[in-house]
Amino acid sequence: MKFSLRSVSQRGGRLATISELGRHGDKTVTTPMCLVFTQAGTIPHLTNDMVQKLGKHAYPVHLPLPLLLESHEILQKYSNGIGDFLALKHHLLYLSVQDSTIRPPEGFNEKSFVSLWGRSGRLNVDVDKFMSVQEAFKPDWYQALCDSDAGKVGSRKRAHKSVERTLAYLDRCLEKHKESEVLRHSCIFGSIEGGSVAEERELSAKETAKRPVAGFVLEGLDTNGPLDSVLPLCENGKKEIIQSILNELPDEKPRILHGPLDPANILAAVELGIDIFDSTYAFLVTERNAALTFCVSPDTESMASNVGKLQDSCNLQRNLYETSLTDKIFKDDFRPLVVGCQCYTCTNHTRAYVHHLVNVGELLGKTLLMLHNLYHFLRFFEVIQLALEEGTFEKLQNMIATRHCN
């Protein structure tokens, strides 16, 4: 994998191209980019033909390990790898350790293993098991086993343990990776731990940077789900922690930040120097029967700005990035979810129909919402890249802040 920085803007946002993608030698991706989140091996609510409608931006796929772990033996027998098994082999496949839509309970990781929460409960995964899974799954990219449990805020001891253990896991993973024939074309990512303790974070970043990893995942920053628990990065000193980490990391390797970050948080993270995100935000918005309606370009008429003109009966409290389709005000609204949106849902269906579907609990409701939300979210990343290229990134941040933040 080759990560080529094209530019770093004054305020820190980076544009890059990633090429030499192993199995997919001819393909490239550009960053900042979004990995398409999957749950138990599928892009939620979407069959493959629906995923095709999302176009090339749906190429990189995010496979969280927990709900796939119980398929380990089956994949060993299958031997063609997880991409083939899931009918996703034409996608770039990245396997993360945890599922970023949820916060795993604290206190369940031990020195030699990490706890993952699968379908039937807790599973203890040590390095041997972990690497055996990687060999069976054969992902394109994978995050090395890591301990992201940093204990209570400010606790130095536990934070230090998470750093030490993660480095130990990484070194052993790297050893096995080097010896592995099947993982020859796979790339391994190291994780930066250390909770909220600045010195631990620095240590973790410095040490991980010394290892021959393809890139870095910033863990333990409380950016996991559920949706409303992710605070703005400017609060609680998160921004400073991220900055201190990135200061120690080399420029020419990608940085991943997982979790359901809202658009303002995404932009803040891009500005700091993060390259890769996941689409858990779009997924969780779908799960509460809402459509993403924040402005992604001056041309699309944001539904939120439309609805703002209607009566107060409209419940838009949570925030103005999304609009709940359960609201009765849409019962006879025959416009698309977002006027001007070119996604399948908006070009074929109406707010009234989607409202009806979610109202009566029909499966198609979530399908249509997921498709729109992913399309909209992936479009946002297109816009971010464009803004960085044109030098209008600050303008984009201001627009998102003034139109959509409370």
Binding site: D332, A352, Y353, N359, L364, T367
Partner: protein, 294 residues
């Protein structure tokens, strides 16, 4: 065979007939598109076929699907259909739709329902409101939904029941057919089918067939079967009906069914079928589904 007023918005062309059985292959031309018969019609109860987009359904080759008047009449309601111009427009389905009368659900889903000559009265378990579904009301809602084929409101009794109630229901179904014909406003775009009743009694079935085929309807359904009766009784009623019904009009066997039944009943001369079996089975692994089967 020809009638003074044309109440038909369909044509049936028999392409081939089996030399051994009563099976026939036909082309049924309906307002929205042509349907090749024998045809199985999947059930998209609430204006959607269990997670499939209209485009995916079209690509699968489906030419006609069902909607349920009871459900759609509650959500989104007839008024919304009037506003949007019918279910086709509402869901973006370009091909054909068929709606049932709402009668079956009212009887099967609702704990307390009462049938009188006026109609079916029941209390909706979701909102405890009292509702009366008359033949006129059913046709009115179906006119709003706008399906290519609509069904008369019939007095449905379980096929496992015998006695005077069966005859009462059969007689009432004839009278309700007449009221439906009278109430039907959109004969140029929607085809009203009669539903033959009479339980498992060949005498009653014959009376019903006699009477209903005198009415000038575009098509006939065979109702009151597929309710758990013995298969040996079932097929006899099917073949009795197809012997009697006019060949140039489509025959719709309601609520059938499993693959074997589809083959047998095609051989007995039926053209159209519907059943929740495939869609229900697909979602039955979901423990929260209210239609999960054991």
């Amino acid at each position: 065979m020809s009638a003074p007023v044309n109440h038909s918005a369909l044509t049936l062309k028999v392409l081939a007939e089996c030399s051994v059985t009563k099976a026939r292959a036909c082309q049924l031309s309906l307002p929205h598109s042509v349907v090749d018969t024998p045809v199985f019609m999947p059930v998209g109860t609430q204006g959607s076929l269990k997670g499939i987009t209209p485009e995916q359904l079209e690509n699968s080759g489906c030419q006609i699907m069902l909607g349920n008047t009871y459900h759609l009449g509650s959500n989104p309601g007839a008024e919304l259909f009037d506003k949007v111009g019918g279910l086709h427009k509402f869901m973006g389905w370009k091909r054909n739709l068929l709606t049932d009368s709402g009668g079956f659900q009212m009887v099967s889903l609702v704990a307390l329902s009462e049938v009188t000559e006026e109609g079916v009265r029941f209390s909706n378990p979701y909102d405890a409101k009292d509702m009366l579904l008359t033949p006129e009301k059913s046709i009115e809602i179906q006119n709003s939904i706008g399906a290519d084929i609509i069904m008369q409101l019939d007095d449905v009794v379980s096929s496992t029941i015998s006695g005077p109630r069966v005859e009462e229901a059969m007689g009432r179904s004839i009278r309700w057919l007449d009221r439906c014909i009278e109430a039907h406003k959109k004969t140029k775009t929607q085809n009203l089918f009669a539903i033959i009743q009479g339980g498992l009694d060949s005498r009653l079935r014959t009376i019903c067939l006699n009477e209903m085929s005198k009415r000038n309807v575009p098509g006939f359904a065979i109702g009151g079967l597929s309710g758990g009766e013995d298969k040996n009784d079932f097929w006899k009623m099917v073949t009795l009906s197809t012997d009697f019904l006019p060949k140039h009009k489509p025959r719709y066997l309601m609520g059938v069914g499993f693959p074997v039944d589809l083959v047998v009943c095609s051989a007995l001369g039926c053209d159209m079928f519907d059943c929740v079996y495939p869609t229900r089975t697909a979602v039955s692994t979901n423990p929260t589904s209210k239609y999960a089967i054991n």
